[in-house]
């Protein structure tokens, strides 16, 4: 009897965000969403407690610091997408191969693009806080 085709990668059961898992796709946009939400909370609570015209000096550094952390995490994800999934930024031939390898490359490619998008979005969340500087 022919051996059954393996669905899971060899070794342990698949870990979250590792080769073979599609979680890497949602990871970067989720980081962006979390950063957006936390920034919003921090600024809203700060301004509600201290009133109009208060300086945003402290919360803006929280938002910027958090932004840097998040972009760092996204860079990590991008590295994973390239190393583990073989994702490339620009594809020259369609990825149509129906195989683990083909699926991985597709997921890697999409994840990489989402990483770039999310990093830019985080940047654009931080900018208003840096420029406006008051409630």
């Amino acid at each position: 009897m022919a051996p059954r085709r393996k669905i899971v990668p060899p070794g342990d059961a698949p870990r979250v965000i590792d080769q073979g898992s599609v979680w890497i796709l949602v990871a970067a946009p989720s980081i962006w969403a979390a950063h957006f939400l936390i920034s919003y909370w921090v600024a809203a609570i700060w301004c509600a407690k201290l009133g109009r015209g208060t300086s945003l000096a402290e919360p803006r550094w929280i938002i910027a610091g958090l932004g840097a952390l998040c972009i760092g995490a996204i860079i990590g994800l991008a590295v994973l997408a390239v190393r583990r999934y073989g994702g490339v930024f620009v594809i020259f031939e369609e990825i149509t191969e129906s195989s683990e390898r083909g699926r991985d490359r597709f997921v890697g490619h999409v994840a990489l693009l989402l990483c770039v998008l999310s990093a830019a979005a985080i940047l654009f969340t931080v900018i208003p806080g840096m420029v406006l500087g008051q409630c």
């Binding site: 109009r52 930024f89 620009v90 770039v116 420029v131």
Partner: protein
């Protein structure tokens, strides 16, 4: 001209105010930039369609996509974002030679000038000295309104329970149109006001006059009717016992250019109709009509109101 429909006193390209000019500059740059990008993209599409199909080198193609598709948009959009935010920061900055509080009500404007001698209340008309930065502190009484004098600058939302600020620095004399720019119910489209830019000396004289109480004789028959009909429960005429806070202050009603929040000329005929056919003049408003007021009684009341200069 393409923009002919935008001419006149509501023209936001009239460059009548510093803040409108700042936005206008950004507008032209974005317009021209968008035109250039459009031409480039369409040009590329035509080129791709016409050109003989031959492969580009991968390195070049990758570079083109990275710079043209990622770096350039992020930089351009980021730059415009920063520019727009800087304008916003300037026009909401908390300083001005003159402070005017404007409260949006359905469907009119309560206007209070903060002067060293105390607040001066008026309504439905805003006068500003040429070349001086006026800081508006905006609030709303009921629902969200939006304060906009397109020719001078803005706009800014008026939010219940909050105070927003907006600066206007007029650069051209004139009577500019203002309006509510956020749908607020029935008479929203009739919620307007005049923004009149004056020479600083004229403005000072106007404000001093506006600060005076009304000159009403104790036995004025017109005021007697005003009091009997209960108008004073909603309207204030400073210097009399009429102190109602519900409707516009009428102390210097006749010195305003327009009646009913910027919509009718201030004439005796219009005032008479305003009182007797209120709902036809401005539907939905919070003032009852007085169809029973007629003849000499109405005339006396109207000439009394027209004497409130």
């Amino acid at each position: 001209m393409v923009l002919a429909g935008c001419g006149g006193r509501h023209n936001w390209l009239a460059a009548a105010g510093e803040e409108a000019r700042a936005v206008e500059t950004l507008f032209w740059i974005v317009l021209v930039g968008a035109g250039v990008i459009w031409a480039l993209v369409v040009g590329l599409a035509v080129y791709a369609h016409r050109a003989e199909a031959k492969p580009h080198r991968e390195r070049e193609a990758r570079r083109f996509i990275l710079w043209g598709g990622v770096a350039l948009p992020v930089l351009v959009v980021g730059g415009l974002l920063i520019w727009g935010l800087l304008i916003l920061r300037d026009i909401t900055a908390d300083d001005g030679a003159l402070t005017v509080r404007v409260d949006g009500e359905r469907w009119w404007w309560r206007v209070i000038y903060d002067t060293p001698e105390g607040p001066v209340t008026t309504a439905n008309e805003i006068r500003l000295p040429l070349g001086e930065r006026a800081l508006f502190r905006l609030t709303a009484d009921d629902v969200i309104h939006s304060f906009w004098v397109p020719a001078l600058g803005g706009k800014m939302d008026m939010i219940p329970g909050r105070e927003t600020t907006l600066a206007l620095t007029p650069r051209r004399l004139g009577n500019w149109g203002g309006l509510c720019a956020e749908f607020c119910g029935g008479a929203h489209a009739l919620m307007r006001f005049d923004a009149i830019v004056m020479e600083p000396d004229d403005f000072a004289a106007w404000l001093a006059q506006e600060a005076q109480p009304a000159r009403v004789a104790m036995d004025d028959p017109g005021f007697a009717i005003f009091a009997e009909e209960g108008c004073g429960a909603c309207h204030a005429i400073r210097g009399t016992e009429a102190q109602g806070p519900v409707g516009p202050d009428l102390t210097h009603l006749a010195s305003r250019d327009k009646l009913g929040a910027g919509i009718y000329d201030m004439t005796p005929e219009n005032i008479a109709r305003w009182i007797t056919e209120t709902d036809a003049m401005k539907p939905d408003i919070d003032m009852p009509s007085y169809p029973g007021l007629r003849g000499a009684r109405l005339d006396t009341l109207v000439s009394f109101l027209m004497s409130l200069e």
